[in-house]
């Protein structure tokens, strides 16, 4: 199971978005179930009230045709809610039920497009099968083994559940301010001139994390370019361009020193991968 869904655009660029996990989706489902239960409860109460009403009118000798019609309508209504709640919300609220909306989950097509009625209907009719034998056991197991965390309904409909954490870089003044600081202020120099600045640390650690995913050729081309300004600032001679291994060893050593430094340079807010200010909370 991947944590990210990759969308291949016609421009041949892969866009990625985080997938909603089993836990998040289950909570969303729980909220929706509660809501459905509440609506059904109200319907049942309405039915009860009408039965009492019908009983009273029948005492006056006029059994209610109106009561029968109302009860018939209630039966249809309950059916439409039980089977239609997910289908209609997802089809007409762009892949979100109230529970999903609260949990910031959205159902989208695997190609990234918004879902339509067809997808919503297929995935939610197959919901009963995912529910089997109880409490979505089958759906959960299938999700666990599927690469994009899809349950059976998702596989048949060609949909995925994505997390839609809304970035608010520009939305709040705070976010914009932090961004400005990060963009305009010169990176703070470390106390040790041979140590790494925050920005350098960021760039090099990013390189190191992505190293496995890059081809040897790409690393040979990329790393010398990344190192040149760093080495120039430190006044160290550049490495011979073919010595990738010694460059990487140097990077590891510098990163290690920075990690062990007693007072590491305070990272500007939106720089760390998990920087919370860059991401909004619930809308």
């Amino acid at each position: 199971m991947d944590e990210y869904d990759l969308i291949q655009t016609p421009e041949n660029v892969e866009l990625e978005r985080p997938l909603a996990g089993i836990g998040t989706r289950f909570i969303a489902l729980l909220l929706d179930s509660l809501l459905i239960g509440l609506i059904l409860l109200l319907l049942a109460l309405a039915m009860l009230a009408m039965q009492v009403g019908a009983f009273v009118t029948s005492l006056h000798g006029q059994a209610g045709v109106a009561f029968e019609v109302a009860l018939a309508i209630l039966i249809v209504l309950a059916f439409v809610i039980v089977w239609g709640y997910f289908v209609l919300f997802e089809a007409f609220r762009n892949g979100q039920t109230p529970g999903k909306r609260y949990m910031q989950v959205r159902i989208v097509r695997t190609d990234g497009a918004p879902i339509g009625f067809m997808e919503a209907a297929i995935r939610n009719l197959i919901r009963v099968v995912d529910f089997l034998p109880s409490v979505y056991a089958l759906g959960g197991v299938v999700m666990f083994f599927s690469r994009k965390a899809q349950r059976l309904g998702d596989l048949a409909a060609g949909t995925v559940a994505v997390l839609e954490l809304k970035p608010n870089y520009a939305a709040t003044d705070k976010g914009a301010e932090q961004r400005k600081v990060w963009e305009q202020a010169p990176a703070p120099l470390p106390s040790d001139p041979k140590g790494l600045t925050t920005q350098e640390y960021q760039i090099l650690s990013n390189y190191w994390m992505r190293r496995e995913q890059l081809t040897l050729d790409a690393r040979m081309r990329l790393l010398p370019q990344l190192l040149r300004p760093v080495l120039e600032r430190m006044g160290e001679p550049p490495f011979p361009s073919s010595h990738l291994e010694s460059m990487e060893l140097w990077v590891v050593r510098k990163l290690g020193e920075a990690n062990a430094a007693p007072a590491p340079p305070a990272p500007p807010a939106p720089s760390a991968p998990s920087a919370p200010p860059a991401w909004g909370g619930r809308p």
Partner: protein, 325 residues
């Protein structure tokens, strides 16, 4: 090649511009005017390329995210599929697409019918030979008075007549539609779940006929079942066809990948299923208002047969105009 900071400096204005556009569009390209739309189509490919460049430059994760999300939002707006007006879509579906779809899937329909009839006939024969087997399928409640001898068709009809008809119509219709939904959904087990639904319903029908035949009530059971049952059973068979269509798409994908075949099969199956909804509504209305009525049996049977006949005629003839042979 650009350094990361040159790249950021050069591209930041474009990102801000796209961000502003996306905020204004708020998820729908329709909210933008022509000029803005033009800007959007100009900016999006460039920003999509920035995503790749940001990755190549090894930009920090938060920045990569930002560019990625911008491109993602723009992608979501631009690559929507054409929307047809719903009313027109529904009209086109019933007048043209549905009969064509049914004819295209007639092989699956034949298979479904064969499974159902086989189960019905086998159970009928079994019940004729061993009458007590009927009670596996037929509720004892049908034996008014507790003994077999007390069963008459009038008893059954009488029970029907006592129920409030409007309530019965909605209860029967929703229940039948639920069975149809199950027949569709269970198809995802390579069609096996659908076969189960078909077998159980076929056996019930066979047992019902066998049970009444054992009591010399063959005509009465026809009179009782045909008005609504002809269309209702046909609709169940179509729903079963939908389930098998999806299941076999998964089991026998042909030239597609298994996943693509399942998705394609599920779409066709869902459309086939949707067309049964009107059938169930008509059948449910007949079951509650005509079946229990005091109309002569011949007229009731005629109603049931003509409903099925009309449906079949619609499916066989409908949407032929303009269709390549």
């Amino acid at each position: 090649m650009m350094t990361a900071s040159q790249f950021l400096q050069a591209r930041e204005p474009a990102w801000r511009q796209l961000e502003a556009l996306l905020d204004r569009a708020a998820g729908r390209a329709g909210r933008l005017d022509g000029q803005e739309l033009h800007e959007l189509t100009r900016l999006y490919p460039a920003v999509a390329a920035d995503v790749a460049r940001a990755r190549l430059l090894g930009l920090d994760a938060a920045r990569q995210r930002r560019v990625n999300d911008l491109a993602l939002r723009a992608h979501g707006i631009l690559y929507r599929h054409r929307r047809v007006r719903p009313a027109q879509r529904v009209r086109q579906f019933f007048l043209r697409d549905y009969p064509r779809l049914f004819r295209r899937l007639r092989g699956y329909f034949a298979l479904t019918t064969a499974i159902f009839l086989l189960a019905a006939l086998a159970t009928y024969a079994t019940v004729r030979v061993r009458p007590s087997v009927a009670y596996v399928f037929v509720p004892h409640g049908l034996d008014v008075g507790g003994t077999d001898d007390a069963v008459t068709a009038d008893d059954v009809s009488e029970r029907y007549r006592q129920m409030p008809q409007g309530i019965m119509a909605s209860a029967i219709t929703t229940n039948n539609i639920q069975v149809a939904f199950l027949a569709f959904a269970l198809g995802i087990f390579a069609g096996i779940g659908t076969c189960y639904v078909l077998l159980v319903n076929g056996m019930m029908l066979g047992a019902f006929f066998g049970h009444f035949a054992n009591h010399g009530l063959t005509y009465e059971v026809w009179e009782f079942l045909t008005p609504h049952g002809a269309l209702e059973i046909f609709a169940i068979l179509v729903a079963g066809t939908a389930g098998l269509r999806m299941g076999l798409a998964l089991a026998v994908p042909g030239s597609r990948t298994r996943g693509a075949s399942l998705r394609h099969g599920a779409r066709e199956a869902l459309l086939l299923l949707l067309g049964t909804l009107p059938m169930f509504i008509v059948a449910g209305a007949v079951e509650s208002f005509i079946t229990p009525s005091y109309l002569p049996g011949e007229i009731k049977i005629a109603i049931g047969v003509s409903l099925l006949g009309l449906t079949l005629a619609y499916l066989v003839v409908g949407g032929r105009r303009g269709q390549a042979a």
